[in-house]
């Protein structure tokens, strides 16, 4: 059912926000801010998660959330102190809730006993207190019924008739099934809470064949009439073969406590109950129609009462109420009339038409400050704006000098169009932008756990958490960041005694920062640990055949080796950074979103890992080049300069490879035609060198046949539409409809490096 799917999507969306909220609240709570506001926010978040989970039948989640919520409730009440232990337990509980949410979302089952230990600890904490509410956690949650609450049978003794209740209980059992008698007397409170006897009668009438007798003997003389007092009660018989007491009780569910009610089976037919009604007075048929009384007159009284009700506690305010004038009512109610009785036709009690609307014109929608839009819709706009940007740049390109000179107005128009398009693009991108806070806020917990597990002292500093990045980038950022921080804590930061021995503070610091740098976002994970042990890294790399024995990489190249596939220096697989995945996963995840990772290390001082991420994934500034007759694009951000081959200083290295000498530096040369197996007819001297900077400021010289120019392109994923191709980062459709492949400079370099190494 698609509606349900929609709701689920909304729910999981909401859950992820609530979980982030929990992280933030607990970060503050941990820092010592244990005020009621934070506790309430935490309670509400868990409560909302539980509420939605119930709606979808995620019973494991509901069960755990309920137990957690109960604990929080006790903390709110002050029955349990928010000690450090409790905070730690709560943080653990947040993780469990998050795991349950994830399991519900993916449909993967968690172990049946998952979180049971924590649940047991909630109970242990609550021990000594009343834990009655906890029992509710085990309730069958599939139950969608309105809760039925048993109603106390108690008829307020009217006058001297005090035996009803007892008589009810002692009543003989020879009853005809489905014949019921009900005595009902509302209290003032019933009206004060906007309940209405008429509606109750309507409900009852829907259950079976009904007759109603109004007992109005208590209506006093006009002079004694209290506007808020209730003078009327009713005796009802209800007949339906399958009618049970529970069904009748359910009708009165909402007015429990606000009325006197008695329900008993009739001895047979319409024979009188052996219990006398509150005031058994002679009938006076035809006095008035019961409905008329129940509806019009009682309502008239009620309306009057309500209008003149002061405030707050109408039920309490009877005494203070002003003496009303009953001129109108006196016409219809005869104060001396002892009883009104009527047989009410069942049809008359069928649900009435809704009350008419009023003040239609004055109605307006309020409270809307923001809208929620499906990401799909935004993506569509982003894509279209991307296409617009390209069309615009194509138009600009196709304006040749003659046209420019002749149609100045057109040129001006195009310039305005270019500006507006760029502005539109920025605005659209801003819609998708989110602060990195949502990811950063998960890290304090991670660091805390890591510190516990490793026995190290670690503190986390975060900087620039309000820096905004595209939502899809943020979503992809969590895993890599987690890995990098794990790496820093596990391999970087030293044990406290070693740190002291090295003359450092015993607490290590991991600094996580985000900043915008041009068209990129830099996310930096920095630690003040021991730095990368290069000898060991190189040794492992050689052992694993990642680096050939005769190759002597530079320090920076060695540092970068930690991102090589299958690389791990941990001598034994710990459950912290082990887990069978290494930093290569970080690299591939980051590359997937068009970013790059660079690591720098200072022996004994620390390590810095820099993630460079694109601000947006959709549009890329590129240089359009030609290789073997086909167009390719190279991301502009990686290009350092372009040189005509005839002017380039190539040199041969002994192995036969070609290098380019640029300002005293030797740069590896990659002929794209060769690399992509294309035939080139361009003369060697007429070709171009595109000098690119790959990660770690390593340069690579790409040789192409021709350089066409700069432009913007909309990136289309190759993996989604075709498959991953080494050395190609994606594809794009050019203004003339041709497809061009985007060269993955970093990727090219890595493959070459492997070739050399192997």
């Amino acid at each position: 059912m698609s509606d349900l799917d929609d709701f689920k999507a909304t729910y999981f969306d909401e859950c992820s926000e609530l979980l982030t909220e929990l992280e933030e609240q607990f970060a503050a709570i941990e820092a010592g801010e244990r005020d009621a506001g934070r506790l309430n926010a935490v309670f509400r978040a868990i409560h909302s998660i539980k509420g939605g989970a119930g709606a979808f039948g995620f019973s494991a989640l509901v069960g755990f959330a309920h137990a957690y919520e109960t604990l929080l409730d006790y903390v709110r009440d002050g029955r349990i102190e928010m000690s450090d232990d409790v905070v730690t337990l709560c943080i653990r509980a947040n993780d469990i809730v998050a795991d349950h949410v994830k399991a519900a979302q993916t449909g993967e089952a968690l172990p049946a006993d998952y979180g049971m230990d924590e649940k047991a600890r909630f109970d242990a904490l609550a021990r000594g207190e009343s834990v009655a509410e906890d029992e509710e956690g085990g309730e069958p949650l599939e139950e969608f019924d309105i809760e039925f609450v048993p109603v106390m049978v108690h008829i307020e003794a009217a006058e001297d008739e005090t035996h009803e209740s007892d008589a009810f209980e002692a009543a003989p059992m020879a009853f005809e099934p489905g014949h019921w008698e009900i005595h009902f007397r509302p209290h003032q409170a019933l009206y004060a809470r906007a309940n209405d006897p008429l509606l109750l009668f309507r409900e009852l009438a829907a259950l079976g064949e009904m007759s109603v007798r109004a007992v109005i003997g208590e209506i006093p003389a006009l002079a004694d009439f209290e506007p808020f007092a209730v003078y009327c009660s009713w005796e009802i018989t209800l007949i339906s073969p399958s009618l049970t007491e529970a069904m009748i009780r359910e009708v009165f569910e909402f007015v429990d406590g606000d009325c006197d009610i008695a329900v008993a089976q009739l001895g047979g037919g319409l024979a009188p109950l052996d219990v006398a009604p509150a005031q058994s007075l002679p009938l006076e048929p035809g006095l008035s129609d019961l409905l008329a009384l129940a509806d019009d007159e009682v309502e008239a009284l009620l309306d009057f009462a309500l209008e003149s009700a002061p405030v707050a506690e109408p039920a309490e305010s009877v005494e203070e109420a002003p003496e009303p004038s009953f001129a109108a009512l006196a016409e219809t109610i005869k104060p001396s009339a002892p009883i009104a009785v009527a047989r009410v036709p069942v049809e008359a009690l069928k649900p009435a038409t809704p009350v008419p609307e009023s003040e239609d014109g004055e109605r307006r929608n309020v409270g809307v400050q923001s809208i929620r839009v499906d990401l799909d819709k935004v993506d569509r706009v982003v894509n279209m704006v991307g296409e617009l940007v390209i069309t615009q740049s194509m138009l600009t390109q196709q304006m040749d000098e003659t046209l420019r000179a002749r149609y100045t107005e057109l040129v001006r128009g195009l310039e305005v169009l270019a500006q507006t398009t760029r502005g539109l693009q920025d605005s659209v991108m801003a819609i998708r932008a989110q602060p990195v806070k949502s990811v950063f806020s998960r890290m304090p917990r991670l660091v805390r756990e890591l510190a516990q597990k490793t026995g190290k002292k670690i503190k986390l500093e975060t900087i620039g958490e309000n820096t905004e990045i595209d939502k899809t980038v943020i979503e992809q950022l969590s895993d890599p960041l987690t890995h990098m921080i794990r790496n820093s804590a596990d391999h970087g930061i030293e044990a406290p005694d070693l740190r002291t021995a090295r003359g450092k503070a015993d607490t290590g610091t991991i600094r996580l920062s985000a900043e915008q740098a041009g068209g990129n976002i830099l996310i930096i994970v920095e630690d003040d640990g021991g730095g990368i042990n290069r000898e060991r890294v190189l040794q492992v790399a050689r052992d694993k055949g990642i680096v050939a024995a005769d190759v002597n990489p530079s320090d920076e190249q060695i540092d970068q080796l930690i991102f090589a596939p299958g690389f791990s220096t941990a001598s034994e697989v710990s459950d912290i950074s082990g887990r069978g995945v290494g930093m290569d996963v970080v690299l591939s995840n980051i590359k997937k979103i068009g970013g790059s990772v660079h690591v720098r290390s200072w022996t004994g001082k620390g390590t810095r890992m820099t993630l460079r991420l694109p601000l947006t994934l959709a549009v890329l500034d590129v240089m359009l080049v030609k290789v073997g007759g086909s167009p390719y694009v190279v991301p502009l951000s990686s290009i350092v300069e372009t040189i005509q081959c005839s002017r380039a200083a190539f040199e041969r290295v002994p192995s036969g490879g070609k290098v380019l000498q640029v300002r005293g530096e030797y740069v590896q040369v990659i002929d794209l035609a060769e690399r992509f197996d294309m035939l080139t007819e361009t003369e060697a001297d007429n070709r171009f060198v595109v000098l690119c900077e790959a990660e770690g400021s390593h340069k690579v010289a790409l040789i192409v046949d021709d350089i066409i120019g700069q432009q913007q392109v909309v990136i289309k994923s190759l993996e989604e539409n075709f498959e991953r191709v080494d050395g190609i980062a994606g594809g794009t459709i050019l203004g003339d409809g041709n497809v061009a492949l985007i060269v993955d400079v970093q990727g090219l370099k890595t493959t070459i490096m492997h070739k050399t190494a192997a």
Partner: protein, 122 residues
């Protein structure tokens, strides 16, 4: 036939979405608020036939919301249903004491929800 106007007050988007779906399918006109404060503002701006409110909400919770509604003096006969996951009598009594008309236990069953509304609205 005139349409019943329902105001739903809940801080959970999921619940709001489900209420909206269920109620508008049943032919009600549905307006929604995210907390008690917003709910009060909306009550000031128009007439409603029934209100459905959550208890646990930021800014102004459901109990306080109901108290405020009843205190205005204009909404004494407006049925207010409390939508709650609380099954405890205690919470229910609190809601009732504030002036709540009835309650709906989360998760709600669409048919039951509609029938409960009919139970309190003319």
């Amino acid at each position: 036939m005139t349409t019943l106007r329902v105001l739903t007050v809940d801080d959970s988007r999921t619940i709001l979405a489900m209420l909206h779906h269920t109620l508008s399918n049943a032919g009600f006109e549905v307006l929604q608020a995210e907390d008690g404060k917003q709910g009060l503002d909306m009550l000031k701006s128009g007439e409603f036939d029934v209100v459905i409110t959550d208890i646990n909400m930021p800014v102004m919770d459901g109990i306080e919301f109901i108290r405020h509604v009843r205190a205005t003096g204009q909404h004494q006969s407006l049925p207010i249903l409390i939508l709650t996951t609380e099954t405890s009598q205690d919470k229910r009594d609190q809601g009732k004491a504030a002036g709540g008309t009835g309650w709906i236990v989360k998760p709600f069953d669409p048919e039951k929800l509609i029938s409960v509304i009919h139970r309190v609205v003319h």
